[in-house]
Amino acid sequence: MIHFDLPSDVALLLRDTAERFVAENYALPQRAEMLAAAPEEAPRLWSAMAELGWLAAPLQEAVGGLGLTPVHIVPLLEALGAGLVLEPVVPAMRCAATLARALPENEAATALEPVLSGERIEVLAEGAEGAPITATRDGDRVMLLGTAPLVPGGAAAAAFWAVAELGGAPILIRVAAEAASVAAFRLLDGQAAARVCFDGASCAVSEAVPDCAGAALDFGTDMGLVGALAECSGLIDALYRATLDYVKLREQFGRPIGRFQAVQHRMADMFIAREEARSMLHLAAEALESEDAGFRARLVSAARVKIADNARRALRDAVQLHGGMGVTDELAVGHMVKRLLVLTQLGGSRGAHLKRFRDTA
């Protein structure tokens, strides 16, 4: 059941704050400085973001959150996406949302307190497709074996919540960064990630967090997907606007290129791509509130397929219409393109989401 209400005042306030924040902190030269830092360095603006309540926003109040529903957070995340923010906001949100569901309320509140305050970064760490991290019991301890090859936001994380399989069931095990073997690197869009090897890490059986039928992890996955889709939607919009401005200004053959019909039709298609992305994002964000996990998964995967398709199309057209300038590192366009590429490569293939969409029909 979908409402399609307009964004609330709270949502707009969060978005406006984010836009101001980005304008003040994320001009390309400022961002270039951040990119020059070692990936394992703490992201510069993390605590500022935590102070603004962004990390706490989507969590229920009982675990220290602000109790906002996903539709309230989406405009904020769109702004952060468009702003090319490097801090791992979505991976951290995903982790927190998972823990808030997997842990008993009081434990969750305790575990999340230093995370939501920005004191430290904690993210989920999963094995590659077909190569899960495995856990085995050894007396009263649980031993881990396996590697998470690409953990977004993992470069500066203080701890990882390893998603492991114990006797076929998923469990979450908190592993401090010192207890794992962490190799930090940047992705091609500049965001910091890590390859984390858990071989030999362990914890007491009592500390391992079982996830009943994977419900918390599934919700967290959908939450993370919607977060990434919000960033995509924000980026598609930003590409659309940047390209529209460009074709109005750039002159060839004695007139703005936006006066050429082929360019106009392509811009119309980019507009359509943006509108569809926004609509599907809204749909997925509302679906996130549903307790019907199948319905939720279905709409989130539908949104993922459509938004990723439109993102690809928009980024191709944005580069093409910018001509030579579009392939440089000198305009925001190039950076947006790289960020969109990364977002569409992560979180599962088109085929996998198409399958999940069908399987939940």
Binding site: F4, R259, A268, I272, E276, F295, G351, L354
Partner: protein
């Protein structure tokens, strides 16, 4: 298909629609719609009569003129359910075009005279806008009306006039002032098809149907009281048409109906589990969902007071792309079974209309403002290019 509108009230409303259709839709009409076969006048007329008697024939009309008082959301639901249950889509020339124009711009006498006939189906209207030389560029139309005592005399011709063979009335755009240019100097007139000087030539389409016609107007007299509102303001009234039912132009119900048919055909062809077909169908289902979600989002914004203008062109563009894509997929699934002439003895159900529908629906991206025109509208009016 996942329905997006499924609140308790939505579901109750759906039930109401379903019960009505089950009780009233003629099985022969139902079978034709379910298989994409051409519909006869009677299929439309019979169904219109049922809807009329129930008070549902004009979902978008205000209650005072005979509308059911549905919300925009209910209209979308009704459209979806009606399509799902294989009801025939009523031609919109009376109900969606001249009816709303008369309600907004027509004289009280005109409203009194025509609205009830539009609702009941006693009057069948057709549209006289396009001309052989004026298609996408409507403003270049040449049919002229000359002032005479008590009215006007029209000469010229109109084309692509859908179902004119069933119509007793036609609303026309005619040039009443040849001196001013293009959009100015055009008026809208209501013409009795039985008037002296009106003749018709059916145009055979490549799918073999004769849905459309050329209409010749040879010195046809139109009395003053059949001119819509002001002389030389016809362009304004025609443009207002575009604003009617604009949230419905995505054709979501139609697309979902077609998707369902294609899925059934895939099963009938033994390809219900073919990964390529399955993936293509899922892709179209998501495409339709995106158009439905966009319709609902724009609608919700409009209801909250946001001005939504030419943005809705995107619904037409994507909706028709989806529908045309689905007819092509349908044909691919049918393979050679799509090929026998559909009147011939060797047709293979349910594939007999697949290629014909592909052919017929090429029109979707041409009429009502071609998709090229729609992209131009978006670029010009929304993007400011």
């Amino acid at each position: 298909m996942t329905d997006l509108l499924t609140g308790p009230e939505d579901m109750a409303f759906r039930e109401e629609i379903r019960a009505f259709v089950a009780a009233n839709l003629h099985p022969e009409t139902r079978a034709k719609v379910a298989r994409g076969a051409p519909l006869a006048r009677e299929d439309f007329a019979r169904w219109q009569r049922s809807l009329f008697e129930r008070g549902w024939v004009a979902p978008a009309w205000p209650v005072e003129h005979g509308g059911p008082g549905w919300t925009a959301r209910q209209r979308l639901i009704a459209d979806e359910e009606m399509f799902r249950l294989h009801t025939p889509p009523l031609p919109g020339f009376g109900l969606k075009m001249i009816g709303p124009i008369l309600m907004r711009f027509g004289s009280e006498a005109q409203q009194k005279r025509f609205l009830s006939g539009i609702l009941s189906g006693d009057d069948w209207w057709c549209q006289g806008f396009s001309e052989p030389g004026a298609g996408s560029d409507l403003a270049s139309l040449r049919t002229r009306a000359v002032r005479v005592a008590g009215g006007w005399r029209i000469s010229g011709s109109k084309t692509w006039t859908t179902y004119a063979q069933y119509a007793n009335w036609i609303f026309c755009l005619v040039r009443t002032d040849p001196e001013v240019k293009r959009q100015e100097g055009i008026s809208m007139m209501l013409v009795d098809m039985t008037s002296e000087g009106v003749s018709r030539r059916p145009i055979r389409l490549m799918d073999g149907t004769e849905e459309v016609n050329e209409i010749f107007l040879d010195d046809v007299f139109v009395p003053d009281d059949l001119v819509v509102a002001e002389i030389n303001k016809g362009w304004t009234y025609a443009k207002a048409l575009l604003e009617n039912e604009r949230f419905g132009i995505g054709g979501i119900g139609r697309s979902k109906h077609l998707l369902q048919r294609v899925r059934e055909m895939a099963v009938a062809a033994g390809r219900g589990a073919d990964p390529e077909i399955v993936a293509a169908l899922a892709g179209y289902e998501i495409d339709i969902m995106a158009i439905e979600a966009t319709t609902l989002r724009l609608l919700s914004a409009a209801e909250a007071g946001v001005r939504i203008g030419a943005e809705t062109s995107l619904l037409k563009i994507r909706g028709t792309e989806i529908q045309q894509g689905l007819t092509e997929l349908m044909m691919d699934i049918a393979g050679p079974a799509a090929l026998p002439e559909r009147e011939s003895a060797c047709v293979e159900e349910p594939f007999e209309n697949a290629a014909y529908q592909f052919l017929n629906w090429r029109k979707l991206s041409i009429y009502g403002g071609s998709n090229e025109i729609q992209r131009g509208i978006l670029a010009g009016q929304v993007l400011g290019l």
